[in-house]
């Protein structure tokens, strides 16, 4: 019986394959036919050999970041209210891998969510709250979250406030810049940059607050790192006790400065960059951007650059990893579990939401990537880990992508969870070795 099903799927997938184009850099090319069967049943995902995926839940709405308790419950932060609520708790009572008990609470939308020391932290687009958890990892009072931080800038563009916590009682909050490149007129062709960029006083960086003090505002926090245009994915690396962030690089080099950049430049520059932060790190936005081809920090055209002028400013940090342009890294997770093969231990998974700003060239991203790490440093090239979220081989317009990876979390059993904020699917990826 199982064999028949498998055979049917094999046929179906071969037919499917023959009618669609396989991208040159698509890992499926390297995989055997046998694996294609597994792809088809793996909730539509293409995974390395030995991994399997299933959908824990579907159609949840705008599922942004996720956090998993020691007991295996999944908390999901929603970017749009669902029946008036902004946070979900998914539970799998009969242990078949599918959520069969979904509760919702909280009347605010947002992105950030994290669990630390028996508290569930969630963020709206201008505040951070926390709920106490009981010994079973359940929110004790869903009606009364404590306000940790409020009054953070929210001007819609780059509005999400993602959070990460260290082991010393601090919480780090991204406050995105409400601008593309600090132009006098945002996204206006040829408009020059404001000097100095006034946005950086209260946004365009990571702020550090106490994770336990109530009612903090800007005055209680410190600007931990600056020059970061927008960070959605950030995670504390416990191996070397350091905060790592993924920046969304600036858009529209060609649209705004067509005499200096081609459409191809527009699509392929700048890199999406990972930074390892220390207090005071300056990643250089809006003054510089990182060119993935030249592997250099370039002066932004708003600040006197022309696509060739390399920045000589010593204050600006270099990225630890540079990825292709515009893929919108929305989640990063350092894997500390024991379920996956050794190569994955302490490495970084990155959820790429997928691009919109590569048009008229095809869009890119819509996958989860992996970078091996040793002691806080990349120890190899990045690779695509889980692909196929878009459901189509080539995304020409962003809306045709079916699923868009957004958040990542590690389960108590070492499995990897991925959220999708387009259809609201939660994926669970397991290693079976088969």
């Amino acid at each position: 019986m199982l064999k028949i099903v498998r055979y049917g799927l094999l046929v179906a997938s071969i037919i499917g394959m023959s009618s669609t184009k396989v991208l040159a850099n698509d890992p499926i090319k390297k995989l055997s036919k046998k694996h294609v069967v597994a792809d088809t049943i793996n909730a539509g995902l293409k995974l390395p050999t030995g991994f399997e995926a299933l959908k824990v839940a579907d159609n949840l709405g705008r599922a942004r970041h996720i956090a998993v308790t020691a007991q295996g419950d999944i908390y999901v932060k929603l970017g749009k209210l669902s029946s008036g609520k902004g946070t979900l708790r998914l539970r799998d009572n009969n242990k078949d891998g599918k959520a069969d008990d979904i509760q919702s609470f909280g009347n605010f939308i947002g992105t950030g969510i994290a669990i630390k020391n028996n508290y569930l932290y969630t963020s709206s687009d201008d505040a951070v709250y926390r709920y106490q958890l009981n010994a079973n990892g359940e929110v004790m009072n869903t009606e009364a979250p404590e306000t940790i931080i409020s009054g953070l800038i929210n001007r819609r563009q780059h509005e999400s406030k993602s959070v990460a916590l260290d082991n010393d009682g601090n919480i780090y909050v991204n406050i995105g810049a409400y601008s593309n490149s600090c132009q006098i007129e945002d996204r206006k062709k040829g408009s020059l940059g404001k000097m100095p960029c006034p946005i950086l006083d209260s946004a365009g960086g990571i702020w550090k607050f106490s994770a336990s003090k109530l009612n903090q505002t800007y005055e209680n926090g410190v600007r931990y790192a600056t020059g970061l245009r927008n960070v959605v994915g950030l995670d504390w690396n416990t191996q070397n006790n350091q905060l790592y962030v993924m920046q969304h690089g600036r858009d529209q080099l060609h649209d705004l400065f067509p005499e200096m950049y081609t459409e191809k430049d527009n699509a392929e520059k700048p890199a999406e960059t990972m930074y390892a932060l220390k207090q005071g790190t300056n990643a250089g936005w809006p003054y510089v951007y990182y060119d993935p081809e030249l592997k250099k920090k370039m002066v932004a055209p708003e600040y006197g650059g022309d696509g060739k002028k390399v920045s000589t400013d010593k204050n600006f940090a270099d990225p630890v990893v540079a990825f292709p342009a515009h893929m919108a890294p929305n989640g990063i997770l350092f894997y500390t579990g024991n379920q996956f093969p050794a190569k994955y231990k302490n490495g970084a998974f990155i959820a790429f939401h997928g691009s919109w700003n590569r048009a008229p060239l095809p869009q890119e991203g819509y996958y989860v990537a992996f970078v091996p790490f040793k002691n806080g440093k990349p120890s190899g090239e990045w690779e695509i880990f889980a692909n196929g979220f878009a459901g189509v081989e080539v995304v020409t317009s962003t809306r045709s992508a079916q699923h868009r990876p957004c958040g990542l979390a590690e389960g108590p059993d070492g499995s990897l969870y991925v959220s999708d904020d387009s259809k609201g699917t939660i994926y669970k990826i397991n290693y079976t070795g088969k």
């Binding site: 705008r62 970017g79 819609r156 563009q157 780059h158 509005e159 601008s179 593309n180 007129e185 945002d186 996204r187 206006k188 062709k189 408009s191 858009d251 529209q252 649209d255 067509p258 527009n266 919109w356 700003n357 048009a359 008229p360 020409t396 317009s397 962003t398 809306r399 045709s400 387009s422």
Partner: protein
């Protein structure tokens, strides 16, 4: 079996080409609209496509779709003209969704270019609305402070 299939494909191709020829020759769009649409497409590619995308589909939660949009197909042409001239960052709900990006002003486009690009977005993809004229854009511009 295969010959039936071939036959079906043949019919489909025939239908397609009739459609295509129809589009080329006695197109339903009146000539002045067609001419404006063709010019407008070039303006769209250079000024609008990045955000609103090739298929007018926009980018979920960032840039609204123009394809199928009530406002784009509607009668309030003055509003569309105002949006292109002034840009838009009102953060108002559009058909139940909020969009987080900022649209810059495009007032340096000529009245003709604005008329053309609006005529293009009103007559592309699944949209079927009328012409926006240079005269209407001129009036819209004169009302700007």
């Amino acid at each position: 079996m295969t010959s039936i299939k071939k036959g079906l494909i043949g019919v489909a191709l025939l239908l397609l080409s009739i459609n295509f020829l129809g589009f080329k020759s006695d197109i339903k769009l009146p000539d002045p609209i067609m001419a404006s649409v063709l010019r407008g497409k070039e303006v769209y590619k250079a000024q609008c496509l990045a955000c609103h995308q090739q298929d007018g589909g926009g980018v979920p939660h960032m840039n609204p779709p123009l394809d199928g949009a009530l406002n784009v197909n509607g009668n309030d042409k003055a509003r569309l003209i105002r949006i292109v001239l002034n840009g838009l960052a009102d953060r108002v709900e559009i058909e139940g969704e909020m969009y987080s990006n900022s649209m810059a002003s495009h007032k340096d486009l000529s009245n003709q270019q604005i008329a053309d690009v609006l005529t293009y977005i009103r007559n592309s993809w699944t949209n079927k609305a009328g012409l926006v004229t240079v005269e209407e854009v001129k009036i819209g511009r004169s009302k700007l402070r």
